[in-house]
């Protein structure tokens, strides 16, 4: 009998799509039941959305002022208090899940499986190690609750089609006051979200400056694509940190990924291994990005990108 609890991620008060990926992964384990836990100061909209996901049995809400911001130290004891009775607790492998889930695991006295790529059985999974250059199979002993994060790029969104009941849950635990939310600064963008976009155009150090990045944005807008970047481009200040793709940035799986002026370091490639088609534009024919690109074009991006944008 496996019973899975999924810790939902929220953007403000709406459900982040990573929650659907967790449901897809939970369903792949052959779970007997899947419940979704929502912790927020306003659970309504997210709970309603979660209740519609096919495969979800119950949506549990913990609505409290102290859950307004997703602070791991505040959420983890509540999640741990909700965990008894479940065989598995899953969260997404986003910065939200990576922050909170290990804290939950430690409170429950168990290890954590990070970044589930595939499910072998209800207690056996594969996960990437060494920046995705090796795939490790792991097994959680039968007497332990399985706490895990789900690698979102490996899973499809679980579709709508459910009609789960929504229940308020009372959790009995102390809420620490030692951690306080100050602010969230996000660069608002009209463009498709990097993590869910079907198409992504990324620029690297080769783009050369913040001003030159306008070329990348123009091309992306023509394609209806989200925009990403290499670490070098972020470090150089061309773009904001939340646009970084790779081992330490976002792991994405768009249908089309266009890498422009990016050399293809392994840490960058980790972030795009699951992309459908990878296009590389680089003036160096020896750039490692061409080893994994499906379509490569050698040349100066300052000639190619405007021409491409114009011909689209």
């Amino acid at each position: 009998m496996s019973k899975i609890l999924i810790v939902a991620e929220l953007d403000g008060n709406s459900l982040n799509s990573s929650t659907r990926k967790c449901v897809a992964c939970a369903a792949a384990t052959g779970a007997d039941s899947i419940d979704v836990l929502i912790l927020s100061d306003q659970c309504g909209a997210a709970a309603a959305a979660a209740a519609q996901i096919a495969g979800v049995n119950k949506v549990l809400t913990v609505e409290a002022a102290h859950n307004a911001a997703p602070l791991a130290a505040v959420l983890a004891p509540q999640i741990a208090a909700a965990a008894p009775g479940y065989t598995h607790v899953f969260g997404p492998s986003t910065t939200f899940g990576k922050d909170v889930m290990p804290r939950v695991a430690a409170l429950l006295g168990v290890g954590q499986v990070s970044d589930i790529m595939s499910v072998v059985s209800d207690r056996s999974f594969t996960r990437p190690v060494y920046a995705g250059n090796a795939i490790l199979s792991v097994e959680v002993p039968a007497d332990k609750i399985v706490v895990a994060t789900v690698r979102t790029a490996s899973w499809q969104d679980a579709p709508d089609g459910g009609t789960a009941a929504i229940e308020a849950l009372n959790v009995d635990c102390a809420i620490p006051g030692h951690t306080r939310f100050v602010e969230l600064a996000s660069a608002a963008s009209e463009r498709p979200d990097l993590q869910t976009a079907k198409k992504v155009v990324s620029g690297g150090r080769g783009v050369g400056s913040e001003e030159n990045f306008a070329l990348i944005y123009k091309l992306a807008d023509k394609l209806g694509a989200g925009v990403g970047a290499s670490r070098a481009a972020v470090d150089a200040g061309y773009v904001a940190n939340d646009m970084q793709v790779g081992q330490t940035g976002k792991i994405i799986a768009p249908e089309l990924y266009v890498a422009i002026g990016i050399s293809g370091a392994i840490q960058h490639l980790t972030g795009i291994k699951d992309a459908g088609t990878i296009v590389a534009i680089n003036k160096d024919p020896e750039a490692p990005i061409f080893e994994i690109a499906d379509i490569g074009l050698v040349g100066d991006l300052f000639d190619i990108v405007p021409e491409l944008e114009q011909k689209l």
């Binding site: 889930m101 990070s114 951690t179 100050v182 600064a185 904001a240």
Partner: protein, 250 residues
């Protein structure tokens, strides 16, 4: 602040292209260059900057591993840490065991701040800092790109998917580092010589933590499926044609 404890890990250097052993029992580490986990190097640097700014008086580097890990502790000492502690064990430890070991060390040393990398680039787990904070019942500020210590609190800017989040935590706390927190200094030869004279204490893991039992069993390592070989095109028109063939353009 009195003390900062920095936890570091010896890992395969980030420039190495690792290979999986043919029998699937691990990756090849014989003759492979080993280094301080890059995120941990950033943690050491941050601690040193706090000490240099007069915000802390002592920086301790600690690691869990076999005697070879002394090399990485010496790197930390050469960067400028005051002393080092090796928690010795022959076998690798999982993040939960590591967190319990560091918890025991925290009990002995009473640091005001613990800093470590957000993840080790070998197992890519991203767990130990959070687990330590949990069992110590103290705040955590993960994925830090800015750290300001003022009196008994720290204000930390964190790199999150939505942008930059700032939180305030009471000390003591655990901070895990992201890449943009700082750029670690280069170690100069005289520093390496000096580091040889700095104190390096060895403790036994078994004396610090009781066996927590096997949490997660690693059963098999495999090489990831390679992407199939692509094509090179020689013009923008060919590129557009190839994209259309794949149905990626209308």
């Amino acid at each position: 602040m009195e003390k900062i404890l920095v936890c570091i890990k010896r890992v395969v250097d980030y420039n190495v292209r690792i290979r999986v052993k043919p029998d699937g029992t691990g990756v090849v580490t014989d003759g492979v260059k080993m280094s301080v986990n890059p995120f941990d190097e950033i943690a050491v640097e941050e601690a040193l900057r706090l000490r240099e700014a007069g915000k802390a008086s002592e920086v301790i580097v600690a690691t869990i591993g076999d005697s070879e890990s002394q090399q990485q502790l010496r790197t930390g000492l050469a960067m400028g840490a005051d002393r080092a502690i090796l928690i010795e064990t022959a076998a690798g430890v999982d993040p939960l065991t590591a967190a319990h070991a560091f918890r025991a060390l925290v009990e002995q040393e009473n640091p005001d701040l613990v800093i470590m990398g957000k993840q080790a680039i070998d197992d890519d787990c991203n767990q130990t800092g959070q687990m330590l904070a949990a069992i110590w019942d103290r705040p955590q500020a993960t994925f830090a790109s800015k750290l300001e210590v003022e009196g008994s609190t720290a204000r930390v800017t964190r790199e999150v998917d939505a942008g930059l989040e700032t939180i305030e935590v009471d000390l003591p706390a655990v901070v895990t580092t992201d890449l943009r927190l700082n750029e670690p200094r280069y170690v100069k030869l005289p520093d390496i010589m000096k580091a040889k004279k700095k104190p390096l204490e060895t403790l036994q893991l078994a004396d610090l933590v009781s066996d927590t039992g096997e949490q997660i069993v690693a059963t098999h390592w495999a090489t990831p499926a390679a992407r199939s070989k692509g094509v090179m095109v020689s013009s923008v028109d060919e590129l557009l044609g190839a994209l259309k063939d794949k149905g990626l353009l209308a």
